[in-house]
Point group: C2
Chain length 435, copies 2
């Protein structure tokens, strides 16, 4: 890790620069896959699955009974853990449910904003030997709370054509009704355009490798909504002298083991913490199966020392970390100052792993510095807000002159006329029998 | 308008197809502009403004005094109309303000979701002889309510290098502090990357021609958030025998006059309404300055007759109109069934113009059929939802086993360890003095 002590304020912008994710560079790899799926549907999916996942599928869809019985192949303890996660994610996301807003803005001008669930959503989780069942929980549970009508899941099969039972079990208990054995850009294309087997959805959620992310961007450009733009994942630990070096090291490594491109930052007001943290990293990293990945990620990473907690907060808001651990004495006060971050963990006993799995917060968060403009996945991600307005004849009269003058000034005569014909109308018969 | 009577259910999918907006096709035109602004900043802006807007600017920014005095050049009646619009937009968007959500998901596991305004937002409105001051109100007022710290506006100057006073006045009363005389893709690039004069923002709002929309997509791909993807604007009027042909015709034309690519649809259960509506269209269109545009738009447009209101609702949800007028006897019941639409206008006295200007609803809405997945601009568009979690030592103990088992099963040893080091810790000294 690069150590930067007391950088000048004018150097901060350079320090917070991240490596650029050039998703567009793989567009040319992904476009033909999307095109093939669009044109050939299931046939393309079967061919690509054979080519990429090395398995010839008889059916693209997981059978209902396989989903129903998935619990039999998941150890009891893991099922209990998943149930605890499910309950907490459910509670936290349920509390976020949007309300209907009704306002009489002018007399007899009634405006309403209603939240309505997106009808069809598609979830993607990666495959591999380590099953991303937590991603299923994070995406499917809010979709279930929102009551999206169609919730489908795509995930690549193993070489036996199977999906890990923990993924199927997580899907089952989170209201996912249909699971498809498809991975890669082909899965994104299938959900965006639909095939004989896979229904077209309106919004796609989930993350994967750079091909998945590029495919999401490409279908976004053609009208399918996506949860979040992709980027490199990151963590900042903001520590003062009350932080525990052992915990800090463990948290930094927890974000490094996943991907060599991840960046972690230790931002501290306490120079003396650097050595014990680095020692702890060395001790802990040796025990990690993914230590090579973690080491590479640490090469992108930095330790930055600033003078005051106020500076640390300012720096943090400039950096806009995805995950932020606040390991300081007055963590609540520090948290009050944070405006740019995906998710923050307060105090010495709130490890990043709590949020990854069980606490109830969502782990799909804005990567890079995207938290400056984006929220992580939350209940809103599964809703749209529609507006309704109802004006009585009197209500329209109240705003008619203003609307007509504004329309006229903007050069829209027909918009003006749509008001005029109504207020000029002669009331002869009761409204309902008029024609 | 093409008339389609009682189409079979299996033909509906074809009927709701819209022309495709191929924004990508102009990417190659827009990319060099973005690149030039990125590399040369203000110099590029001045050069492009001279080339495109035919004016050599001495300063890119409108002076503070010009904004302050803009009210002098706006007629009193228009100021009063704008004030009514401002007040209603304010009321409706203020009522949408998000709440903080706090849940103790497991004992001593405290999760919070806080809404924090995006710090820097950039608004774009088109120029021309007809000033889009209503767009300024629609975007700046919610930004002001959200308390975004920096709210800037870009709009192209006229050939005298001036901005229409109505735009400046709308900006002034909506909390916009800085206005820049830049149009086109160069304005989008300036706000996305910043120049010597124009501050970089995190999210860009507003619509324009296809170059603007392409530029927004391109900067989105590089990390700047945007309000909504673009598309062709549209309106559906859902009418039964209680609808007024004169009003229906006026509403259809109100959406046709703006752009030849707009599509409008009259969906009705009453065949007898067709002739009087077409007659009214012919009468009214002749008086419109933009009648040529309106006629072209009508060529893309359709009248569809279905048997029942239930079918009409189902068809509407498949079509997902941007604007929807429900001119039926039981409009409230019909509105209950609508799930896919941007904004709905209920009854015979709720013209589309009310929502465009004064009622208080936002007129930046999901075009094409994007309302299936997107909301129109609303107060949320100016916020991000951050999550915070605080676990006590006991709180962590309560979820530790579940988190560790899930992390382990997903193959993340370091995530598991970040919990383990904390619960294995021996408590010798009080926490605060530990180091």
């Amino acid at each position: 890790m690069k150590i930067i002590k007391y950088p000048e304020r004018h150097d901060w912008h350079e320090i917070v620069e991240r490596p650029i994710v050039a998703t567009e560079k793989v567009f040319s790899l992904v476009l033909p896959v999307i095109q093939e799926v669009k044109e050939q549907g299931d046939k393309a999916l079967l061919r690509l699955t054979e080519e990429v996942d090395k398995v010839k599928l008889s059916s693209i869809e997981v059978s209902e009974s396989e989903i129903a019985q998935s619990g039999n192949d998941v150890p009891l303890q893991l099922k209990q853990a998943i149930e605890m996660a499910r309950r907490n994610i459910w509670k936290f996301h349920l509390a976020q449910m949007p309300n209907t807003v009704e306002v009489e803005t002018s007399p007899e001008v009634f405006c309403t904003q209603k939240s309505i669930a997106i009808e069809k959503v598609g979830l993607y989780v990666p495959g591999g030997s380590a099953p991303s069942f937590s991603a299923v929980l994070m995406l499917a549970i809010p979709a279930q709370i929102a009551e999206c009508k169609e919730i489908i899941l795509c995930t690549p099969p193993d070489e036996q054509g199977k999906i890990h039972p923990a993924i199927l079990y997580a899907a089952k208990i989170s209201g996912v009704k249909r699971v498809f054995k498809i991975g890669g850009a082909q899965a994104i294309a299938a959900m965006a355009y639909g095939t004989e087997s896979v229904p077209k959805v309106y919004k796609i959620f989930g993350q994967g490798n750079h091909l998945i992310n590029a495919a999401k961007q490409l279908v976004y450009l053609q009208g399918t909504a996506i949860d979040l733009p992709s980027g490199f994942s990151g963590l900042e630990v903001l520590a003062d002298k009350t932080a525990h070096p052992e915990f800090v090291a463990a948290d930094l490594l927890a974000q490094c083991e996943q991907c060599a491109d991840n960046q972690v930052i230790l931002l501290t007001t306490d120079e003396d913490i650097i050595t014990p943290v680095l020692e702890q990293i060395e001790m802990q990293i040796e025990k990690l199966p993914q230590k090579e990945i973690a080491r590479k990620s640490l090469e992108n990473s930095k330790i930055i020392v600033v003078k005051t907690i106020e500076q640390a907060v300012e720096f943090t808001n400039l950096y806009a970390p995805e995950h932020l651990i606040i390991a300081t004495q007055y963590y609540k006060g520090v948290a009050e100052g944070i405006v740019n971050a995906g998710s923050a963990y307060l105090g010495n006993y709130s490890p990043i792993s709590a949020g990854y799995y069980v606490s109830g917060t969502n782990h799909f968060l804005p990567a890079d510095s995207l938290s400056k403009a984006y929220s992580g996945v939350n209940i809103d991600s599964f809703f749209r807000k529609l507006t309704f307005q109802h004006l009585t004849r009197a209500g329209l009269s109240n705003i008619a002159n203003a609307a007509m003058l504004m329309a006229e000034t903007e050069g829209f005569a027909a918009r003006c006329n749509a008001v005029k014909v109504r207020i000029d109308e002669e009331i002869i018969k009761p409204e309902i029998e008029r024609r």
